[in-house]
Symmetry: C2
Subunit: 362 residues, 2 copies
């Protein structure tokens, strides 16, 4: 069906290297075997090492979105409520997941392109009791990042409020220190900065979050944090059959990531982001994300001034074996997005941007 | 980590052929692309063709277990209750999923090894109103199948009762006609009779089930049937990022299955089951599943008379590159299980059984 592969410069799924893909082509083995126990434990151990964390870690066979249901069902009681900071499509989705699960949540709206700040959250926390605060560390729809470290500092003054963070499009590409920053649930999926195919979601869970989960009724089965983490503690396995092929590739990829080193990976992403920002400004585009809060994994270029045709660009890029992303939802056409995450490098990025310059005669 | 691959004669994950595994090693593409729309629609169209159904079909990135949460959250109201027929570990898990989701369910216990029958269900339906009846078409823990067709006939007299069927270990290997038999939710996962790696779950959903779901509040996000099926109707895509690699392999595998033909596949499985049953009896073993209700995809051999050492057997089989499964839970050691599903053939089965004969000097 696919004639020419288009190198993925979209904000996920991102490009997966051939050696990693080949790990998915290995023969299967049973998920109740010693081999699987070793594999799963190796994945979790490497994740703990990469993120310098002693918190609970789990990998669940699903899209990252499942952690929105997990947060709703496990971390918010029937009586309590969450504060959802919404500045894009994915932070909005988290609010919807909580409401659709029959739990309560206040929605704090922030303009798309703007960041949620410590001050905004502080103001809300002073007026009301919240069992959890939710936001995106990196809003994939806008390319805005939050100052997670600073918000974590603030939350240390509110011991009954859990810090729930959607890090889907930056975990593994932008600095994340769950223990030092005090996150309670931070989650992501494999097809972004881990440069793997989609199919697995990763969660890092504090003891405080797990203790909360123990008090919340009706958590269900597949998304029951207590059950999943308890099963791992007891058997170093998963309660139901996991995606063994993708876990095999994940284990392999984490070895590569630990070899490159978290600091080096974060620096590589920052360099790609800086280069893209300069490139956009140089050619008369704007940057959609406000200064100081620009993502290092996805750049949202503001196209409203120049009004270039993004669909036509992608058609021309396709012939060169490349693809970028249009703007998201209401900002389709008005912005376009370049995902520079995972295994991408500055050299590759320069080739992409040169191709765009050529097509648009910039 | 894995030195010698052991051919999987366990009741899932089952053996995956190399050409199918290689489909998982293809380069990625975006899940909001035309390519993905074509892929996902092709998978669902082929599933509908294989199962001769005009019902709704969905494929969700998860283990099959997620459909237990889906049933609990979507098909049972807060006021109503389900009847769960429990004759093994997986039918029991369904009951637990409903209770753990805060919904009500009566549990009808049946001895492991025995089948749930039309009469048993009829008796219960005459005494109480049930919004759903749940059971396993094929209990993986015991090798017992249900007479789904006959139970479906019965349920046609109870239009307010949904027929919810766990077909995880037999969908694609044993005859299943959702429309003719009147199932409302029947679900499975990829690592059993579809002979794929685990990571995707498949559901076939009647309009009646979807109509029920529309009346049930608090369904959540990731497992919301209405949302998932609605998204497909509108965009022929999935609401969140699916496992593209595994869907690519699924599409490829379904083509192979349609080429072989459902009837031929079912016959091949029946032949393997018959051969295994005869082999067990010939060598003085019993069959754990009662006569008339023996699975065609997994044979549970009763080892209580001969009391052979299953762990030692598997150690010896491993040296020959083979593996079978021990009995499940309370029947570990007392039974052992041979999964003859997916791409396995009678010739391969004969080799396996000959290897067991040699090791045990039967």
């Amino acid at each position: 069906m696919i004639l020419l592969h288009k190198k993925l410069w979209i904000p996920g799924p991102t490009e997966v290297k051939e050696d990693v893909l080949m790990e998915q082509a290995k023969p299967l083995f049973g998920h109740r075997s010693k081999d699987f126990t070793l594999l799963y434990d190796s994945v979790l151990t490497q994740l703990r090492e990469f993120f310098k964390t002693e918190q609970h870690v789990l990998v669940i066979t699903a899209s990252g979105t499942i952690f929105m249901d997990i947060a709703a069902r496990n971390l918010i009681t029937n009586e309590g409520k969450a504060l959802c900071c919404v500045n894009g499509s994915f932070s909005s989705r988290m609010h919807k997941a909580i409401i659709d699960s029959g739990k309560k949540a206040d929605r704090m709206e922030i303009d798309w392109g703007k960041a949620v700040t410590v001050e905004m959250i502080k103001e809300k926390l002073e007026t009301s009791n919240y069992e959890a605060v939710t936001f995106c560390y990196n809003e994939t729809s806008t390319g805005v990042k939050a100052d997670l470290k600073a918000i974590g500092e603030l939350l240390k003054n509110y011991p009954d409020t859990l810090l729930v963070v959607d890090a889907v499009s930056s975990m593994g590409g932008d600095m994340l220190l769950p223990d030092e920053w005090g996150t309670d649930l931070v989650f992501a999926s494999t097809q972004k900065c881990f440069a793997l195919p989609p199919g697995l979601a990763i969660g890092i869970v504090s003891q405080k979050a797990l203790d909360r989960a123990k008090t919340v009724p009706d958590k269900g089965m597949y998304i029951n944090l207590e059950a999943i983490l308890g099963y791992y503690d007891k058997k170093k396995q998963t309660p139901s059959t996991p995606n063994i092929s993708l876990l095999t590739a994940f284990d392999y990829k984490l070895k590569q990531m630990l070899t490159e080193g978290a600091e080096n990976i974060y620096r590589r992403h920052k360099e790609m982001a800086d280069y893209t920002h300069e490139w956009a400004l140089k050619h008369g585009f704007g940057l959609f994300a406000e200064e100081g809060f620009r993502s290092v994994t996805v750049t949202t270029v503001d196209n409203r001034e120049k009004n270039m045709d993004i669909d036509a660009l992608n058609k021309a890029l396709a012939e060169k074996g490349l693809v970028i992303a249009n703007g998201y939802g209401p900002f389709k056409g008005k912005t376009f997005r370049i995902g520079h995450m995972g295994d991408h490098t500055l050299d590759g990025l320069k080739e992409l941007l040169a191709a765009i310059e050529e097509i648009w005669e910039l």
